[in-house]
């Protein structure tokens, strides 16, 4: 099993390497370049060339890639072309905000989704199960900007319970944290909870059809214990994957939420980077998103490997 875990980790690192090459290649294909963008329309050819040389943009692409990769490995993300400050500094200011938003959402959504998914599986076919099914479907089909805008209108503008704008910097108390985060977290939950509920419900139901569950019932095991102690350990693999896929949305897909709530997160930083042709910034953000995604998927796979007794006890 150690071999399997090691090979999975190696695969993760290899994918990250491939992703870095892809990120670099794609960002290099973006039309225009930072030198032209910086100097504006009226720059002469000579000044553009000079700036290019000073930024290292005149070197061949493979060399630039290796240079950039070496920088990544040593923690040097390069300098932002637009602001001329280290990219690490820009990201360092935004990343904690994004992590806080994602973390708060995960802490709320995962237990909620598991509880609803498992109970729906336990009482499958009941009124509760059908209600959950209809509700999750309708929530997941409403676009998130609509959810966000509507909730701002209701809770911030009309009821004035919560803050419409969220800036993580001015948090002084727990109550304030709730006030600021409630709306963005609720909006994000709406997006990701539905999928997790549906997948964990399906995974549990799949296990509840297994003969060993009937055996447990015939042993006199109660329904709650059947689900939690018998079925759930066998469903960890698929559930972990469902959670990882849903949470991966929180990494890059939050741009709409960040925009509506004017939240200073990393997704917004990246979009700003794209509009100013700030390649080092865009590349660094893309790498962070991909690394986060790969991390989640790898952790889910490791969970599935570790929860499988055939692999744990060969």
């Amino acid at each position: 099993m150690l071999k399997l875990v090691a090979s999975r980790l190696a695969l993760g690192i290899l994918s990250l390497l491939l992703v870095s090459a892809a990120v670099f290649a794609i960002t290099s294909l973006l039309p225009g370049d930072a030198a032209e963008e910086l100097l504006g329309q009226y720059a002469t050819r000579e000044t553009v060339e000079a700036l290019r040389a000073s930024l290292g943009l005149d070197q061949p692409a493979p060399l630039r890639y290796l240079h950039w990769l070496g920088g990544l490995l040593t923690g040097d993300f390069g300098r932002s072309l637009a602001n001329n400050v280290p990219v690490a500094q820009l990201i360092g200011a935004r990343l904690p905000n994004s992590l806080m938003l994602a973390g708060a959402t995960a802490v709320v959504s995962v237990p909620l989704a598991l509880a609803i998914g498992i109970t729906a599986a336990m009482w499958r076919g009941s009124l509760y199960d059908r209600a959950v099914s209809v509700l999750t479907l309708s929530i997941v089909s409403v676009p998130e900007f609509l959810v966000a805008t509507a909730s701002v209108l209701v809770f911030a503008v009309h009821l004035r319970w919560l803050s419409a704008l969220s800036a993580a910097s001015d948090i002084t108390s727990l109550a304030q944290f709730f006030r600021l985060f409630a709306l963005p977290v609720a909006t994000l939950c709406c997006v990701i909870v539905a999928q997790m509920i549906r997948l964990s419900r399906a995974a549990i139901i799949d296990q509840l059809r297994a003969p060993y569950v009937e055996m447990a019932v015939l042993k006199g095991v109660g329904p709650l214990r059947v689900v939690l102690r018998h079925a759930l350990p066998n469903a960890i693999g698929p559930i972990a994957n469902a959670i990882a896929l849903s949470l991966s949305y929180l990494i890059g897909g939050v741009i709409i939420v960040e925009t509506i709530f004017n939240y200073p997160g990393i997704a917004k930083l990246m979009v700003d980077g794209v509009s100013t042709r700030d390649l080092p910034l865009v590349q660094a953000c893309a790498m962070i998103f991909c690394a986060g995604y790969l991390l989640l998927v790898t952790v889910a796979d490791l969970c599935a490997i570790l929860s499988n007794p055939r692999l744990r006890h060969p």
């Binding site: 297994a210 003969p211 060993y212 009937e214 055996m215 447990a216 019932v217 015939l218 042993k219 006199g220 095991v221 109660g222 214990r225 102690r229 018998h230 350990p233 066998n234 929860s307 499988n308 007794p309 055939r310 006890h313």
Partner: protein, 604 residues
């Protein structure tokens, strides 16, 4: 003495998709004295499992216990609340399922599952429960009783798992144990050990038991009384000896008759040129090494020939390589080494290299018609496709051939428009067979074609196949784990053990001692249709010996093994006077002396 269990007028109904309820068990009444073992016998669909589950107050999803009474001692099981039922299950009535491999939770250790019931019902502390479990493991003759509980279900064999499940059922010392076909999924050699363990432990604990089975010979060994079921109705009830020797109901008579094999085919193969010759066949799974040997060899150096019009039976336990042999001959799994010759022409190893004519001449019939037939295609299309492919017949000509095929396998012409799901198990297997016949092959490979069928239905399929073989001059290779089946349809028999041919000979030769020790073990393990057989039969198999890699694959289990020779020198091929060839060091006289007193009933 008061009855331990009394069932009165039990009716269980099943609801179909339209919500209409039909009874699947009607007016079932029987009683069980304390310490008695009662067998429920019947074919699939007879309602025996439904009754067994009802004894625990349980009905499968879609079913409902409609009326009747089940009294366990003083308790009316059907009147209990859900909470009281949970207390009853496991503690007073426990259940042993057919497939222990499926009924054990793969994610939990065996000890956790075995002791769960005792802990749940508050009978014992964890330590006490584990001590009780170890005592049961020992009573059930499980190897390493102290440590087997730490394992996970996938780490122990099927036979051990079935015994572990019995331990799980007995841990709370229930009054009644319900055993649902507990040995059906096991090899004969394992079945006998499991049966022996069950019987000893039931007797020692004085528990009553209901034993559900379709196999009269197995039931004869363990049950005091037999209840015969058919179509959800009890047809006959009586003591075991009486049911076996003097069955009263016509259905019971047909069951008893079907349990005794009818010899078909010839005692020796016809004098005809060989159709298929296999030499030095090596095949397995996983990428081959530099020497061309697969990583996991399944078949090693197998030689045999099938004559035209003859039927070769291939027999062995699960894992012996029987099904792999069929896959290799059909080309689905290319062999690593060796040669296959069809009618004097060498046959390419891989299916992609064979000509359409070579493909046509060898047809494979799979074990399960349920999965081999496309459920969305009508029978006419299933049979029409190979006719078009191999013979290019279209339209009316094709329809005529489909009708002829249906006639050959004794199905009505109206079956052509049906979907496989609308046919019974036996009818589906006939379609499966007709699909192979549609190609007009020379050789049909039958992989356990009757294993999933009831005895009576299976016997009809065997009759049909034997008739077809004569009529069409077909050769067949008949793979089975059931010695009865092979002996009743084949004129030559090959015994496989761990991928090696340990014995081969005509049916007559296989019938009589001396045998290869493994053949002897197989023959002595088939239960006979009389009570007391289990007690008379001693333990044939030697205790497993895992010391060192053995040259003879059967060495670890062989009762006649000679350490110093058998585990050092590969056994030679030896031709016995009776006409069969075996792979063994022992001389004919030694084999004869060491064999079980002749137990194989004469068939010829």
């Amino acid at each position: 003495m008061a009855a331990a269990l009394e069932v009165q007028g039990l009716e269980v109904v099943a609801r179909n998709a339209e919500g209409v309820e039909t009874p699947i068990v009607r007016d079932a009444s029987f009683a069980l004295a304390p310490g008695e073992v009662l067998a429920l016998i019947g074919e699939s669909g007879s309602g025996k499992t439904t009754i067994a589950l009802a004894l625990l107050g349980y009905a499968r999803p879609g079913c409902r216990i409609a009326q009747g009474s089940i009294r366990l001692g003083e308790t009316e099981v059907l009147a209990l609340s859900a909470r009281a039922l949970r207390d009853l299950r496991g503690r007073r009535v426990s259940y042993v399922a057919q497939s222990a491999a499926a009924a054990f939770n793969p994610a939990r250790s065996i000890m956790w599952q075995v002791t769960e019931m005792a802990l749940l019902h508050g009978i014992a502390s964890r330590q006490e429960a584990e001590a009780m479990a170890v005592a049961l493991f020992r009573a059930l003759a499980l190897p390493e009783p102290e440590r087997v509980g730490d394992r996970y279900p996938h780490q122990v064999s099927g036979g051990q798992l079935q015994r572990l499940m019995a331990a799980m059922a007995l841990i709370a010392e229930p009054e009644l144990v319900v055993l649902d076909e507990p040995t059906t999924a096991l090899d004969v050699t394992t079945q006998i050990e499991v049966l022996r363990a069950f019987k000893a432990v039931l007797r020692a604990r004085g528990a009553s038991a209901v034993y559900v089975s379709h196999d009269l010979a197995v039931v004869a060994q363990i049950a005091d009384r037999i209840v015969v079921l058919r179509d959800g109705v009890i047809r006959e009830t009586g003591p075991t000896g009486q049911i076996l020797s003097a069955p009263a109901h016509p259905y019971t008579k047909s069951l008893v008759a079907a349990a005794a094999p009818v010899p078909r085919g010839a005692a020796a193969p016809p004098e005809a040129p060989p159709l298929l010759v296999v030499e030095g066949l090596v095949a397995g799974y996983g990428r081959g090494g530099r020497d061309g040997m697969p990583a996991v060899p399944v078949l090693r150096e197998v030689d045999f020939a099938i004559r035209r019009g003859s039927s070769l039976g291939v027999i062995g336990e699960s894992g012996s390589g029987k099904s792999t042999l069929a896959r290799v001959i059909a080309g689905l799994l290319p062999m690593a080494r060796g040669s296959i010759t069809l009618d004097g022409q060498p046959l390419p190893a891989a299916i992609g290299q064979r000509t359409p004519d070579q493909l046509r001449r060898i047809q494979l019939v799979f074990q399960s018609a349920d999965t081999a037939l496309n459920p969305r295609r009508s029978v006419a299309r299933i049979l029409g496709r190979p006719i078009e492919f191999f013979h290019g017949a279209k339209g009316a000509e094709r329809d005529r051939r489909v009708r002829r095929l249906l006639d050959l396998v004794q199905l009505p012409a109206a079956a052509a428009d049906r979907l496989p799901g609308e046919l019974s198990g036996g009818q589906k297997q006939r379609v499966n067979l007709a699909r192979a016949l549609a190609a007009e092959p020379d050789l049909i490979l039958c992989d356990e074609v009757t294993s999933a069928l009831d005895t009576v239905v299976g016997a009809a399929i065997l009759d049909l196949m034997d008739g077809l073989r004569r009529e069409l001059g077909l050769s067949t290779m008949f793979i089975s784990h059931d010695l009865h089946t092979v002996r009743s349809v084949c004129d030559e028999v090959m015994v496989l053990y761990a991928g090696q041919r340990v014995e081969a000979g005509s049916r007559r030769a296989i019938q009589a001692a001396p045998w290869h020790p493994y053949t002897g073990l197989l023959i002595a393990s088939v239960p006979e249709l009389r009570p007391g057989w289990l007690e008379e039969r001693g333990t044939v198999s030697a205790p497993p010996d895992r010391a060192g890699p053995a040259c003879c694959t059967f060495f670890p289990r062989c009762p006649l093994r000679q350490p110093g020779q058998c585990d050092v020198v590969p056994p030679p091929v030896q031709h016995l006077a009776k006409g069969s060839a075996i792979l063994c060091h022992r001389s004919e006289a030694e084999l004869l002396a060491g064999a079980e007193p002749a137990t194989a009933e004469p068939l010829v």
